[in-house]
């Protein structure tokens, strides 16, 4: 399709006995320029209400109706919610929790991913769906299951766990050493002794926890692949995805979920898609701050494949699951949806087209509300945005070319957060990445969130704070990157543990010592009310949480601690290495420091936005590039009118008009402009 995908989850099966509603849906979708719906999510019981009894007539009809409307279908496999009869007949399909309790039917996404029967049943229904709809002209994409997550502790999963470990470690001796089991006399003498970490057994072994998280990711992908197999065979040309997620709202945070290693999972999907639900208009941060976290998360998902992604779900008004679920104010749905596009989405899809009448998500926002009215404010803004999207359709597929990479390693984050010691509430690994990110986002400098498998040569600057887990291959790549002229920023908590979360002996690994020109010593953990200060430039900055004591070998000291027993020792250092430069931040500093710290780096590397002359934190400018044209998205994440100035005149993509160099953006205002490269 040469348009952005616009639409969302649609569950006509909830309204089958009200055909006038289904008719109204089609009319309202069309009017709103909706061109794509996701069908089939949680439809299993509607398709197969009793074992072997299939009902496709309603789905056939909606497929045809959508097609006749000119629309497309993303078809979800129904495994996220199996039918009651299956949970009842085959108890093995139900998850067993960490206490060994077999659950009964309920909630969703709580199946065992090892169960042969569940794998067989999902393959069967997927096969049927692929055969029936694989050639339907409306079919655009497969959406496997829904929001994968969870874990199972049943005997089958335990058996798989042991097999996975045997395959990885080969011998028990290797396992015992990797998990460092001589502590507390925990060495295994037989494979059958190895159980999953669980509160009625072992909960303290760091290496086991780390491997269990790896195993959960592996099993989840394995189950996904089992589902995908018949789809790949029967419909080789239809791309396959599954919707990823973000988390953290309960703590005022927002970032991709940490429970599954999406850097691995992404290799198995044809296109990355995810469900975007930031907490707009909250009372604990500015709107721009919410926008920054949202931007970070979009950039994470873009970076998984360095390609445009899909927003598979979002809300046109309010969500349902938080403590406070505030509606988007007028203008915010357009602004926030356009932010998705600005950061690399090729879709705006909502959950959901029509608000459910009952059950647990009934007050979650919908394109069509309970009033079914086209006069509804939400619907009207959805329709207005539909036109906007059509007007900028030429941007679909455009890419991004960031010169800044922020390093994030799922496994390292698992290990880093797992341990005792230091400050439990102040680990804040991802929040630290976001703090660095915010400096660049605030200046309209694009970033990617990268990992060790990425090509580092694309970047001028790599920011890798808290690289807790040492990976020799990655560090070797970083060495090469810097030697060739790259700039690298590292920090405290770097190079501390190996891939089994065992401490690396004898201090900072040699390669890192040379790269940063330092030796590291102890890390001083601060209680929340304790602080140190760092002198940098001609100012003093407050430190918190962690101060690492270091000394320099080849590095030059840029900032020193001002207090405590390590007063006057280095806190911020810079090292020339090959053609490049590295920086090491030995302590946790605030954004005020980071802004000053990055200023000369940004200047030297010429990273500044090439269009906006006076970047403001409240006004974001993001760039996508296609066929030699640079598309600039200007977005005002504030309640005030904002004025910005651009390097040159540009063209408004929506209407082709010429836009001058002084641009006024109303509250929540947004503009899409373009320049030829």
């Amino acid at each position: 399709m040469d348009k952005f995908l616009y639409g969302g989850d649609y569950n006509p099966e909830q309204w089958l006995d009200q055909p006038e509603i289904l008719k109204q849906d089609l009319e309202l979708m069309k009017k709103a320029k909706i061109n794509t719906v996701t069908l089939g999510t949680f439809s299993w019981a509607s398709i197969e209400p009793r074992e072997g009894e299939y009902h496709f007539e309603w789905l056939d009809k909606i497929f045809d109706d959508i097609y006749q409307m000119g629309g497309h279908v993303i078809l979800a496999t129904p495994s996220g919610g199996r039918p009651q009869w299956m949970s009842q007949k085959y108890s093995e399909v139900n998850q067993v929790d960490e206490y060994g309790r077999r659950h009964t039917h309920g909630f969703r996404q709580n199946h065992c991913y090892s169960s042969p029967i569940y794998r067989q049943e999902t393959q069967k229904i997927n096969t049927i769906l692929a055969k029936r709809y694989g050639k339907h002209p409306a079919l655009l994409m497969w959406h496997v299951s829904n929001e994968f997550g969870g874990q199972c502790f049943c005997d089958l999963c335990q058996e798989n766990w042991r097999k996975w470990l045997q395959n990885k470690y080969q011998t028990l001796d290797n396992l015992n050493k990797a998990w460092y089991l001589r502590v507390w006399s925990g060495m295994y003498s037989d494979w059958s002794q190895v159980l999953p970490p669980n509160p009625l057994g072992e909960t303290k072994v760091h290496g086991m926890d780390l491997d269990w998280k790896r195993f959960v990711t592996a099993m989840t992908i394995d189950f996904y692949e089992s589902e995908a197999k018949p789809l790949r065979e029967i419909t080789p040309d239809i791309p396959i995805t599954t919707n990823f997620m973000a988390e953290g709202l309960d703590k005022g945070d927002y970032y991709p979920i940490t429970g599954l290693d999406y850097s691995q999972f992404a290799k198995h999907v044809d296109v990355v898609s995810w469900d975007s639900y930031p907490a707009w208009h909250n009372d604990y941060e500015t709107l721009a701050e919410t926008a920054m976290k949202s931007a970070y998360t979009h950039d994470c998902f873009y970076s998984l494949k360095h390609k445009p992604f899909l927003i598979m779900e979002s809300t046109p008004s309010c969500i349902n699951s938080q403590q406070y679920n505030k509606s988007k104010r007028p203008g915010m749905n357009i602004l926030s949806s356009l932010q998705q596009i600005a950061h690399g989405s090729d879709s705006t899809l909502y959950f959901q087209i029509r608000q459910a009448q009952g059950n647990s998500e009934k007050f979650h926002g919908g394109v069509i509300g309970h009033d079914g009215s086209s006069e509804n404010r939400v619907y009207q803004e959805v329709a207005q945005y539909g036109s906007k999207l059509e007007n900028i359709a030429e941007i679909k597929g455009a890419i991004k070319k960031p010169k800044v990479g922020i390093y994030y390693d799922w496994e390292s984050n698992w290990a880093f957060n797992r341990g005792g010691a230091f400050g439990r509430p102040t680990r804040l690994g991802i929040q630290t990445l976001q703090k660095h990110y915010s400096i660049f986002w605030g200046q309209d400098i694009a970033c990617e969130i990268i990992n060790g498998e990425d090509d580092f040569t694309k970047y001028d600057l790599i920011i890798a704070p808290i690289m807790y887990m040492y990976r020799d291959a990655t560090v070797t790549k970083l060495e090469k990157f810097v030697k060739a002229g790259g700039t690298l920023v590292g920090s405290y908590f770097t190079g501390m543990a190996d891939e089994y979360d065992r401490v690396i002996l004898n201090g900072l690994p040699t390669k890192l010592r040379e790269l940063f020109g330092i030796n590291t010593k102890e890390i001083d953990t601060l209680y929340p009310k304790q602080h140190n200060h760092v002198e940098f430039g001609d100012k003093s900055y407050v430190t918190k949480d962690y101060n690492q004591i270091i000394d320099t070998t080849t590095a030059k000291v840029l900032g020193k601690y001002q207090d405590d027993f390590y007063q006057d020792t280095p806190a911020v250092v810079k090292n020339e290495f090959g053609q490049g430069t590295t920086y090491y931040l030995a302590t946790r500093l605030g954004r005020d420091f980071l802004k000053e710290f990055y200023r000369p780096i940004i200047d030297k590397l010429q990273l500044a936005n090439d269009f906006v002359l006076d970047s403001k934190y409240e006004v974001s400018c993001q760039v996508r590039i296609k066929n030699g044209v640079r598309y600039y998205f200007l977005m005002n994440f504030s309640e005030d009118q904002q004025v910005i100035h651009t390097r040159c005149e540009s063209t408004n993509v929506e209407d082709g008009s010429t836009v001058g160099t002084e641009i006024h953006l109303e509250k929540y205002g947004c503009l899409v402009l373009k320049l030829n490269e």
Copy 2:
């Protein structure tokens, strides 16, 4: 009995080996003018220590002793705590919890209400008790079990749950639709698949949760009826009650418990009785505020039958179960006990006559303390109040005739609190009712707390905020009420869901639109730090939590929002409907607003107290009426002396003296006055 019931729970079985204590009890009771004791609560093991081995001699004796003292007995059936041998021999009598775990003996009130054996055992012991004591001249009333509550998830209860549902829904198709189970593919294909909501199965289905709560109420009543059956047969003239409860102290609240629908349960008792334990003298609110919540709760229980009720339990000094358990200050037991009478109680009964020496409630206050002394401050105040009660005995049986009804619907409250969306911590349905109530209580205007089955024609004003669940019959009655000249106040969150907690489509139901003269649109949920303002009269009032956007059809706008995108739209409206008037409050406003809002309504409807000229929040005046005499209870809920003025002179009920129109009430002071109508 022509006196108020005075006394309380008495457990002589704890002191059988100390006959001098039992003798002292009788003397001290007599001296305190105690005329009623509740026997038998938790006495089962004392009566039947081993299966089939009965010991009534001690109970016979105490029955006779009480009678000889001139007292009466409320006899409790012992089912609240069964004997150990029964829990051991018949495991089915023990409750199974939501995780499917059969409990062993312990605590209290934790039996299975389905168990045929437990029903048989309780009927057996009740039959024996009724036969033995049914004709005893001291027997005044049956007190079935104690503080019913709890729920059971055993197979028998699950079977009853399915039967109850089959009876209600007839077909699975009806059930699937009512619970809106197409969400997440949850439709049942066989009745055997239906389990109770539970954390190892289904926890997310709103309709299921609502029906489960209804079922728990139904089963509790069914068990109560099973207990009552032999009592009704053998002693048809002895009234039967069970003691209801209040809750909320742990959150600083206080109101009837919400877990059981007392509006249904009340139909099955001959007289409403309840256990009253407000948190007097706390540090989070004024004494008057505690008094207001206490008054609200008394009025709820009065309203269940619109008849005098009994206080079955209260404390003469301190309770035992809260974080802080403060003793009543001197004077407070008399004041707070008289408040019970003022609001319609025909008794003051304490838990308990003699403080237990051991176990979990040993420091809960008692009429006779651990010191066994008549010099004890608590005892002396109990005795002083005993005389007071005798002096006002003529009031017993007097009724109330409020003109204000506050609408409260147990089921609606269940559904309203269940959902996600909006603000989870800010639902505050009952607290909102109490906020309205406080305006009237503060002006000494009597209210009842009514439900849809009540006769609305008795009232001039019905206040029905947050009528979340739409009940057509109730709304039809409200229409009729207003048409005939009544005044109705409604609010945001009204008419939103049907009796299955499914959203009502197409906006506010037509009858409510016409009644209030409005259409409703979206509800804007506010975070705690966010506010709007409403202009009303010549002042501006702060809103919080929820602002509903509405437009008017026939209604007249009294107040408008002052901020945000719905600035200048209606927030408070008034509608003439038939002979009556309705008001709709679209937003959550404070007491400052409500006081101004209700002022003209109170004036117009002439609701003001007919006795006190200058009502103060700290001084409460409540009225009971009997044989053409109006009894006024004046109560000072403050630490200061208070002066109030009355319309005319009156007579002090206690001593027959004439009381002038300027009345001085000392700290915690109270007076009972009368006027002929």
Copy 3:
């Protein structure tokens, strides 16, 4: 050994494949003057990796290596962590939790203490160890298991519970009365009905809970004795200990654990040892306050046998288990280690010699860090302290002779904390003891923490606040103590319950009435924001939490309440009794009051420190005595230089130099001085 034990836990089994590390360990230990290591803790799987397959070669070697270094070995029995094969083969060795769930292998110290198999297995391995190493010249002491704790609810333990109760109560009637089971109809009719307190059964019976805690202590000791048996038989000359613990850091507190009655357990060890982990440098209290709590805890452990104890574990830098784990600043390890010695320790032992490379405690501080470097700051301070310890070796074995005893009763504290009523968050029994203690510690007056079995005649002043559980034998001893001229301080919450936690009837027991010259009445519980005041001397002091109302018989009133209905009644009284004096504090008062209150008592009893003239809270002076020499430890628990003055010149123990009467102590500075008596 004629030196202080210096060293700590050493786990060479973690480094067997890196012999160069083991070699380095020996060198670094020697250099730091380490003379003692604890081996064998959690080494079972290294010794017996498969059933019956033993590997002692590595342990033999380390034993010899340590001996050759001139060091000694404390040999731990390995029962704290059994091998996986044992947990797998004999499931009965694994603990069953309070929900009846048999745990699988994991964590540590989670075995069943009843299991015949586990007792047999531990005796077997202990026998082997005793036979193999019992005569090894390096063997200094047995360290049975590690940090005993936990409880088991398996059938075997339940059987032991019933046996223990049968033995204690003989008849069910006695049990039913002791536990006061007529409340809620809980009387047993058969012993088999008696289960442990547990959340799926009985949780409310105070007497049961109290006995269960006694039983847990008894079973833990019984298991310990079972382990000790072969050691006593085979190596009758080797002393046996087990390491005790402190708790409370999670609430900002610090004191010996309350879950096990160490006053009983101490009788079974040859020398008391414990693991000392205060939260130095936190952000919620001053350093001196942390030092005071640490001092209190040391004094508790000294008092268990009124003899020098051992510090079995401590950290040279940071701990691992708290929310924030801050490193000790330079100087603090020496200061805090010396504080242990000052209060009666004959050792400084660390956990651990070499930091583990992996698993749950990998970042807990070690003498030898992950860098393995002698340049490490922590190591260097350890080595510096090692020299210091050698210089003061003459002090080893020196005792203390406090004249102040603070009364603490483990069982009373259990009962006191158990009940409802009063203020649940404000019981604070031990914190109240510490408040009294702090007055004396702040003035460098030594205290012991004593219990009813101690010899009271050694003391001039006994402080016994909140003596909730009445023990006639103890009170009789107190009577005798006061009659003979002793001074006693008591308080509210005294003499309230018997040994079954049943309330004592008829008020304060006669002996206590006479002792204090008062009668007690009600206790007024205050909410946190509520206060009263007491006039004492010419000042007014704020009370909180509890005000008891009393009247005096023979006592003289020193202070009266100033507010509320008990205004002008006694709050602080003094009573002459025999040759002695008692004081009763009827209310909870602050340190400002206690300081004034104790001033004349300290003067009269001449309790002031005999060396320091101007005691400061920040500078602690503790005394140990040996062979007619008084050793004074001066310790500066502040960040500032401190000056203090002493009665006379003294000798620096470390270098024999003469020290003048004005002493300057640097930040964290400490001096060890001596005077001939």
